[in-house]
């Protein structure tokens, strides 16, 4: 309570009023009876260094946002599309290449089959998008395939889907940054030796943007995505017009001979299947929207479902359009170092080296680079849902200053950088690990939706479950083909990562379940009064004010108090004993000589002896260990003190029936401690230079 202000005179004779202080108002706001809401000032740093760091953090990541501002951070469809779709849409830039690289093995004539393969993939995209649209509506709390599998196939299938997705998100970040750098590296050879470092920098930049919050990162990354969509659609449009007018008849791109692939195999069904599996990379990232439904503005499910359809239409249009126009212009299948289908089509329709061609290439490079941003939005949300289900450490569910799931973002960045470093930022080494996991999750989510429809039996359930069943088989087959094809090139690692991740999640879940069982109270149980004996042990380093402070606290707990002084100097022990007997005659002091000069272990051993000497027929007492601590004013001073106290605290951590209490003594506590000893400040006898260890 603060002192009341003096009364103020009113205008009328005898009128008085008092302005009342409101000490809570700077930090808290009452929201209801007994309920307070902390204001920003309550969590603001109090030290000068902390304030400086907070200022730097505000510049880099932005000012902290309150939970109430979460609704303002939600995404409109226009902003959500680039955030959640950059991965999926970017894959249209290279999916046709993947098909052609397989079909060319059977000869140039078979490349015309690319349009049929692209059509089949577009059909699969339709089924998967249709399925995820239902997931958005049926599971508006997000989680996508994980939640669908968990609810319909069982928790373990949910974990398989989650693990597969998480591995794929990490790979998306690693592959997209590596491929963006590889593209840059062909233009600027000087960066080649620093690919890993630059990749790490790129990932850190995207991490920082995402830590600023979803809306701000959306604003940053929206333009490149829309630029790519616009340029790709323009290229397709011009290409179609040229085709209709008969102008699409030549390919002006000068391709390097070594980059052009040639036929070496017979055309088989398996080759066709391989082309289908290769082109299916177009589907990676389709599931991201279903993971992030709560990030949309209300009505969340409807907006997410509609955004998903827009994304699928754009992806399908660009993919089919590029494949079709590419065929009309007789594009070539090239190695990963050669000109892409998009590049060949761009050069054909806009003119090689023209402004529009360069803009198309830049936008393609940018979107490939930003594909990783989808992972930065989807991975932390999935991790947060898993954390809420106790399958991941709970820190993953905490939102940072800017309402972003900071832990997920930082961990994703860290693991992706580690992958880049481990694979030396080599696209060829990383790509086999990519897009394996996502087909596991597609298959599980489709299969889960079949059961969902059968359980729900809503209108149209029969045909919906047939569609999802067909989708499950299709994506399952693609998974098998992709896994078989890439297994020898490194996909086996993914098939190890996924079970490892599942094992980790099961372990975390087991740990949380076990601790919850130990902590749970019987419902309705009345808590009895404490009945166990309490005793206090104060390890002292001498007779000083910090010890007096600890003694005062001890006296408020119990009368069974004893001090322990561990010394490696017998002459000093006698001095302490004498001072103690004089200053605190009612509290016994135990002197422990330590000829081996250990300070911590003898205290712990003494506590063990105390426990053993307690009568067996009585319940173990609770031992309070009060550690006096001198708190210096500045951080650098603090390094000089309390090292032994810290070690003792660490040694007693987890000791049964033991409560460890730090009793801080600050310089401004002088008066309190002095009055407690009934001696004027400055006359209190101090040993050991007046400081604790």
């Amino acid at each position: 309570m603060t002192a009341p202000n003096s009364p103020l005179r009113g205008r009328k004779l005898g009128d008085r009023r008092v302005v009342v202080d409101r000490p809570h108002s700077a930090y808290f706001r009452y929201a209801g009876p007994g309920v307070m809401i902390a204001k920003a000032a309550a969590s603001a740093p109090t030290t000068a260094l902390g304030r400086r760091l907070a200022r730097v953090r505000a510049v880099v990541f932005g000012k902290p946002l309150s939970t109430a501002q979460e609704i303002e951070e939600r995404l409109t469809k226009k902003l959500a599309l680039p955030i959640f779709s950059s991965d999926a849409i970017s894959s249209s830039a290279y999916a046709t290449d993947e098909i052609l690289r397989v079909l060319i093995l059977a000869g140039v004539a078979w490349m015309t089959w690319s349009i049929y393969v692209a059509g089949a993939i577009a059909l699969m995209l339709t089924i998967v998008a249709f399925s995820y649209r239902q997931v958005c509506r049926g599971y508006p709390s997000g989680g996508g395939a994980y939640v669908v599998a968990r609810e319909n196939l069982g928790p373990n299938f949910g974990l398989i889907a989650a693990a597969a997705l998480m591995v794929d998100y990490v790979m998306t970040v690693a592959v997209s940054s590596a491929s963006a750098l590889a593209n840059l590296g062909t233009a600027f050879t000087v960066i080649q030796p620093y690919k890993v470092e630059l990749g790490a920098l790129v990932i850190m930049a995207v991490t920082a943007a995402n830590l600023r919050g979803i809306r701000e990162s959306g604003n940053i990354f929206a333009i490149p995505t829309y630029l790519f969509v616009g340029m790709a659609l323009l290229a397709i449009g011009v290409g179609l017009v040229n085709t209709a007018t008969g102008a699409a008849h030549h390919l002006p791109v000068p391709l390097h001979h070594d980059d052009v692939l040639a036929g070496t195999q017979a055309f088989t069904f398996f080759l066709l299947l391989k082309a289908f599996a290769g082109g299916s990379v177009a589907l990676t990232g389709v599931e991201a929207i279903a993971n992030g439904v709560p990030a949309f503005k209300p009505p969340e499910a409807k907006n997410a479902a509609n955004t998903l359809i827009i994304m699928a239409v754009l992806l399908g249009t660009i993919f089919i359009g590029l494949t079709f126009v590419g065929l009309q212009y007789d594009v070539r299948a090239t190695t990963s170092q050669g000109a892409t289908v998009l590049g060949q089509v761009g050069a054909a329709v806009f003119g090689d080296g023209s402004f529009l061609f360069i803009l198309l290439q830049i936008s393609a490079a940018l979107i490939l680079f930003l594909a990783c941003n989808t992972s930065f939005n989807a991975f932390p949300r999935l991790a947060a849902i898993l954390a809420k289900d106790d399958c991941m450490p709970r820190q993953f569910a905490f939102r940072g200053d800017r309402l972003a799931f900071s832990w997920g973002i930082v961990i994703l960045a860290g693991v992706s950088i580690a992958m880049l470093w481990a694979f030396d930022a080599s696209v060829d080494a990383l790509i086999p690990l990519y897009s394996v996991g996502v087909f596991i999750c597609f298959t599980l989510s489709q299969a889960g939706m079949v059961i969902h429809w059968r359980k729900e039996r809503s209108s149209g359930w029969a045909w919906r479950s047939v569609v999802n069943g067909f989708g499950a088989i299709l994506t399952g087959v693609v998974f098998l083909v992709v896994a078989y094809e890439k297994f020898g090139n490194g996909a086996w690692m993914v098939l190890i990562f996924i079970p490892t991740l599942i094992a980790m999640m099961l372990f975390v879940r087991h740990q949380y379940a076990s601790s919850a069982r130990q902590l749970t109270m019987r419902s309705g149980a009345a808590i009895p009064q404490p009945h166990r004996h309490n005793r206090v042990v104060i390890p002292i380093s001498g007779v000083n004010r910090a010890v007096v402070q600890a003694l005062n606290v001890a006296r408020s707990i119990t009368t069974d108090i004893r001090a322990v002084y561990v010394s490696d100097d017998p002459t000093h022990s006698d001095e302490v004993r004498e001072l103690w007997a004089q200053a605190v005659p009612d509290v016994p002091l135990v002197l422990v000589e330590s000829p081996y000069r250990a300070l911590i272990a003898p205290v712990v051993a003494y506590l063990d002896v105390l426990d053993r000497s307690w009568p067996n027929e009585q319940e173990e007492p609770i031992t309070f260990v009060l550690i006096p601590e001198y708190v210096a004013r500045s951080w650098w001073e603090r390094m000089l003190y309390n090292q032994a106290a810290k070690q003792l605290r660490a040694a007693l951590l987890g000791r049964p029936h033991t409560v460890v209490i730090n009793v801080p003594y600050r310089r401004d506590d002088t008066r309190a401690a002095a009055s407690a000893t009934e001696q004027p400040a400055g006359t209190l006898v101090a040993t050991d230079n007046g400081q604790p260890h």
Binding site: P4, R11, R17, V20, R22, Y30
Partner: protein
Amino acid sequence: MPEANNAIFRRAVVALSGGPTDATIVRLACELGRSRHTEVIAVHVVELDWTVPLDADVAERSEEAQRVLDAAEGIADSVHGNLECVLVQARDVGAAIVDEAAAREADLLILGLPYRTRFGGDFAIGRAVPYALKSAPCAVWVVREPIGEESQ
């Protein structure tokens, strides 16, 4: 009323009673005062009878009194307005509000007028509103609680 800088007011005192009109008048003052160099001061007066000393520790310990101002602050925040909150103990609510407005050189005093639906419905005009209308050294706005269909 001053017309400087096209502002409706320079400094407004909003009298809070803890009733349903508080939200309306705080929102009104904050929205009118937003984006201009204006101040909005919310005053809540805890009336003490003569059996208690005027400087008794009453209002500070009263969570309810604090909550009236905190709720106003929350409303001001929601419309991105700045609100200074003042808690006052006095013998008479009307006099204290007018004195506070005069001491702070306010050019506008806004009060809420609650509507009681019992017994056919009537405005609970009380003593504070007539006193403010009569004695305030500045413009006084009285905002009535919505009645009938307006409240829906």
